[in-house]
Symmetry: C2
């Protein structure tokens, strides 16, 4: 049993808390926003319900997660601290500075960033060698993957320790040789999203069609056979020929007018009731349940 302190009780922070508590660890959560902290217990409960856990187990797991009223409370009697605050360099640096003032110099610090450069995040830290990028996927208590990466100054022992701890929770850990913005998963994800937006801008199809294609072919295939194994399967000569022929047509854009147009019109997605798709009442819950049940079904051995 390890004692974790998580700074940030949002989607990622409370999700990681649930994943850690399910694996038997104790977790304290702090958030600078009192409303977020006040909602923690309710959000944890909903997450555990989504896991379909029996009531007795649910009580046990829930009792392992407590909220810390201040950063000083969070930093007391913990073994590892995790920053799970929004993806802004200034916010993350400020939190890390405040944390380092309160914890021993040898305590591991994990960052949930995958979009910012971990090396940049670590700049200004008293002990940057203990900062490890530990990037969970949403929801962390459902998705198996955790990406672990070092910053330029990270001590490899902290990286190995993080991998061992996360693997010990039954997660699937991958280790990056070095820190790059987006790690592996988000680079792959947003390379695809960039091309999807390109197809919308070229009026080849609408957003619903993109999702249909992904759900009825590529998602299904990639959950069973990865793209590298598939490239070998069809042959690397064919793969190279297809790439050489398609690459000049693929997006290399740095701006995203399809998103800008929607955002200018106040269409921000789920929270505004509409974005690329319509978001009538009930869709949010339906999507969350579809994600959980779809993934669980796939993870069950036949």
């Amino acid at each position: 049993m390890t004692r974790f302190g998580i700074v940030g009780g949002g989607l990622m922070g409370h999700g990681i808390a649930v994943a850690l508590a399910q694996a038997g660890h104790r977790v304290k959560v702090y958030d600078a926003e009192p409303a977020t902290l006040a909602a923690l217990d309710e959000r944890v409960l909903r997450a555990l319900e989504r896991c379909g856990m029996p009531p007795d187990d649910m009580r046990t797991v829930r009792a392992r997660i407590t909220s810390a009223p201040t950063l000083s409370d969070l930093s007391r009697d913990v073994d590892v601290v995790i920053e799970a605050v929004p993806e802004r360099l200034d916010v993350k640096r400020e939190v890390l500075e405040a944390l380092e003032a309160r914890i021993p110099a040898v305590m591991p610090v994990w960052s949930t960033t995958s979009v910012l450069s971990l090396t940049e995040v670590a700049k200004g830290m008293r002990c940057p060698q203990r900062l490890v990028g530990v990037h969970w996927w949403n929801p962390p208590y459902v998705i198996p993957l955790v990406e672990v990466a070092p910053g330029a100054e990270t001590d490899r022992r902290f990286v190995q320790e993080a991998c061992d701890m996360v693997n010990g929770m039954g997660k699937t850990t991958v280790r990056l040789h070095r820190d790059v913005p987006g790690f592996i998963g988000n680079r792959l994800q947003f390379a695809l999203v960039r091309e999807a937006l390109h197809l919308l801008e070229q009026e080849v199809c609408d957003p619903v069609t993109i999702d249909t294609v992904m759900r009825a072919s590529l998602g299904l295939r990639w959950s069973a056979v990865g793209p590298m194994e598939n490239a070998d399967f069809i042959g690397l000569d064919l793969t190279r020929n297809i790439l050489a022929s398609l690459a000049p047509h693929l997006s290399a854009e740095l701006t995203f007018p399809a998103l800008d147009t929607l955002l200018s019109a106040g269409q921000r997605g789920r929270v505004s009731g509409g974005g690329l798709l319509a978001w009538p009442a009930g869709r949010e819950e339906e999507v969350a349940q579809r994600l959980d049940s779809g993934i669980r079904r796939h993870l069950v051995e036949p």
Copy 2:
């Protein structure tokens, strides 16, 4: 019941034959390569075995697929012809010319191309208005998705008819507003593969790690929730911020040195016993079974 004639008995051609026969249609297959044609019945049988079909049904479905010794035999007593020959413009054009000399002017012609421009493929056809891009995903008797696209001169009635027929087989059809190289699925796929190769070239990780990331997170997520729905879910403002921050780092390459290096060393993938990954004996069969069982498990309603 519709009578189909397929030119090309390779991976795609015999796979489509099985998908059509399963849906109750009659299929003739012709291949210019006698060895491919001779292997047809054996390949069909293996495909049906992979479907886990009861022996009686298997015999019924198998009897609906026959081989045609010549292109003239193929063209007789069919309602729709499908070209499923290799992705080379000259090969496809030659086959279409030979087909058109043998079939009535009103008969629909479907092309399996998704990488070549359909408009280019149609150039030189006597009746280009009947050529429809009908792109199946491998294996066609397992993957639900079929992409349907018009060339610049295609008559929309032929497109609608193709959609109706494929939907009638229980497939998930998407229709492109216009023909673009790679259609939707292969553009999305190879945008991601391009970035995966970029990560290898930057020595961020090895090929196995790419596949682990895809199978343990993105593939699982995308088979349940598409990337457009996910962008709305996390918020389009966040999506735009992440894209703007990652895009300058994402691959916009037109050359693929990681593949060139392997190919120069004779590492062509599965067929040469090694490529991005090692291919010891038995891996080919294991991958095919993993793909089928993974997808079937996901398609079953909970």
